[in-house]
């Protein structure tokens, strides 16, 4: 009789603990994992907003067809933020609270990602592979750093590597930079400032506004300043027009580009003027002979999508999906948000079937890969001309 009370107590405690333990993880059922993606579907980057998730879905569908991750199918739901940080916050709130997603994935743009940092911390929800190469994503002094797993080499790091490369090509080079004066350009400038300090030089800087279509003034200034190597911090249209403008002026420096300029359309659109243009990229090309790229091409062809969609940005969606799936696989059958964070922290040197140099995270490391390859335009096609540079 005396034993009864403690036994009841223990049973009760066990019962409560079991109940507490059984609280379901949002977005995870026995058959499905729901992830949230916020893209720019109707703003200045809407072109990428369609290509990226399509690439991700190629890989998710491939995994789903193979039986999913630990028996669960991956389903991605999307919101539109129009490249407006405030809309990004609203969309993230909707995904987290209304749709109850398990994690956030691939939100495009630096300022939208920056804006949702406090929410990541409040909800303890991870954001895997934000679609921006800004080095600020893995900055540990910022709110919610613990929840952001950045995959790509930062713009700052890339700018730094390109300045070094310019001096490698020509020790007496005079380097100039033409950058978009937004968050992207801001991060490029950070890398440039670091390179300036390291080489003890001053680099000529010319800014343009996002969406600009006329670069005559900036190119003329670079010409006047005598820049022999010009780093372009633009996306697709900007490098094409900059190089064509320079060619029309009879000014022929060596043009170098940050990874967003690595799109194959730059090679196609810039023609003669873009001959010899070299851009950095944090991954191998979609048309390379790596296992990851081959799988991508095979799945793309099977999907019957318009071949115009195939390219760097579509491939970008594909390879970041591989990183997320790797994390989900490692997190095991009992999937929780903390479990995914811990699992991703254990990722060391993951090369995504030969596509990356090696993605590494740790308890205090969220930077992903920190290497680039250099890609050159010749005759309207791109080829890789370097090994991994760190």
């Amino acid at each position: 009789m005396k034993l009864r009370k403690p036994v009841t107590l223990i049973l009760l405690i066990t019962f409560f603990l079991a109940c507490a333990g059984r609280e379901p993880t949002p977005g995870v059922t026995d058959t499905e994992i729901l992830i949230g993606n916020i893209q720019d579907l109707s703003g200045p980057m809407k072109e990428l907003g369609m290509a990226l998730p399509h690439g991700s879905n190629l890989y998710f569908n491939y995994i789903n067809d193979k039986g999913g991750v630990h028996g669960r199918q991956i389903r991605m739901t999307m919101e539109d933020h129009q490249y407006n940080p405030q809309k990004a916050v609203a969309a993230a709130k909707k995904l987290i609270e209304q749709d109850q997603v398990f994690c956030l994935y691939q939100i495009i743009g630096t300022s939208p990602c920056e804006a949702i940092r406090p929410m990541l911390e409040e909800n303890g929800i991870p954001l895997v592979a934000p679609a921006t190469q800004s080095g600020t994503m893995s900055d540990r002094s910022k709110t919610g750093w613990k929840y952001i797993f950045h995959t790509d080499t930062g713009y700052d790091k890339q700018a730094n590597i390109l300045v070094d490369y310019a001096y490698e090509l020509n020790a007496s080079a005079k380097v100039g930079v033409i950058y978009q004066d937004d968050d992207y350009g801001e991060n490029v400038l950070e890398g440039i400032a670091e390179a300036e300090a390291r080489h003890g030089v001053t680099i000529q800087k010319e800014a343009f506004q996002r969406g600009a279509t006329d670069f005559a003034g900036q190119v003329m200034n670079l010409n006047k300043g005598g820049a022999t190597h010009v780093i372009i911090g633009g996306i697709v249209r900007e490098p094409i027009i900059v190089m064509k403008t320079a060619a029309a002026m009879g000014y022929a420096p060596q043009f170098l580009g940050i990874s967003p300029t690595m799109d194959h359309r730059v090679a196609l659109g810039s023609g003669e003027a873009g001959e010899g243009f070299i851009a950095a990229n944090f991954a191998q090309l979609y048309n390379s002979d790596t296992e990851g790229a081959e799988l991508y091409r095979e799945l793309f062809e099977k999907s019957g999508t318009d071949p115009k969609v195939m390219g760097m940005y579509n491939f970008y969606g594909f390879i970041t999906a591989m990183v997320l799936v790797e994390g989900l696989e490692r997190a095991g059958k009992r999937l929780t948000r903390d479990g995914l964070i811990k699992a991703l922290e254990g990722v060391k040197g993951y090369d995504g079937k030969g596509v990356f140099r090696g993605i590494t995270y740790g308890p205090n490391d969220r930077a992903g890969t920190e290497a680039v390859v250099l890609v050159e335009n010749r005759g309207g096609t791109q080829r890789i001309i370097s090994d991994w540079i760190e």
Partner: protein, 343 residues
Amino acid sequence: MKGRYDEENLKWIAPLIILVIVLPFLLRGATFSYRYYLYVLNIAGIYTILTVGLDLLSGYTGLISLGHAGFLAIGAYTSAVLVDQAGVPFGLSLIVSPLITGLFGILVGFPALRISGMYLGLTTMGFGFIVRRLIIALRTWTEGSAGLEVSKPVLFGFTFANDWHNYFLIYLFVIVVVVFARRVMKSKIGRALMAIRDSEHAAQAVGINLVRYKLFAFFLSAVLAGLAGVLFAHTMRFISTDHFDILLSIYFLIMVLVGGVATIYGAVLGTLFIVLLDFLAIPLFKDWLASFMAVQVADIQSLIFGCIMFLFIIFQPMGLYGMWLKMRIYWKLFPFNPKIKQT
């Protein structure tokens, strides 16, 4: 003797305040994703403070502004820098930052002394662009276009930590601003501003000092936009130049127009209508449309806003508030409504 405010029916204020207080509790009871709705309401509240100011300027005084996103940005950045970098308490910044924004309002007001209509619209639009460039140029304080993280609001030792707390902070100001604006507009100042809108010459002839009143309208409108900016920065907790673009200024004007110009209540109704449409109705509509049409429906928002503006201007030039007034008169006279023939 009839007092100045006797015409004003103030009986609705108490029930409205109760509704504002009870609404979040109702939402919490009704839906588990109430925090998302609260966030949308908070945005609507902040914008309401601004559009009430815009209504004073554009509705009552007839001075068009396409630069109010610029004033919002000045208020937001000033407060972020004052509180987080200069160590000024949030409570003080709530007073100082709007006043600084007000000074910018006076600055923009000077050209308004000589130009009006479309030209003034273009000038204020230019102001919006200048503010964005200025924020990028002053990167020592503003971190350029990378954006700025902002601290939570702290008043009398209490930290407003989430959307629930922010809601009450924001709507306290909304109520104060709406009552204040109604009162100002019923006073001598309001009548002077309306006289300027209707005829500058006549106004001057009866002794209204055009310079002083026009500048005052700009000042007051900018102060309210600045106040909205302060609340925006500290409750959204991240600001960047991407927030404050020309489209936002245009949306503010749409809010005032749809609500009904020169009524204050119109600005409130218009803002609620547009924000709720933008954040709640249009996404639902998009999903619904995408479910049976294989078209890209992303760009539909601008189309819907354009149509709404168009329809309101043609069929309801008095706006939502005008519709409400008409409805009230209809029910008051029911069933003895005179048949009004539209001509």
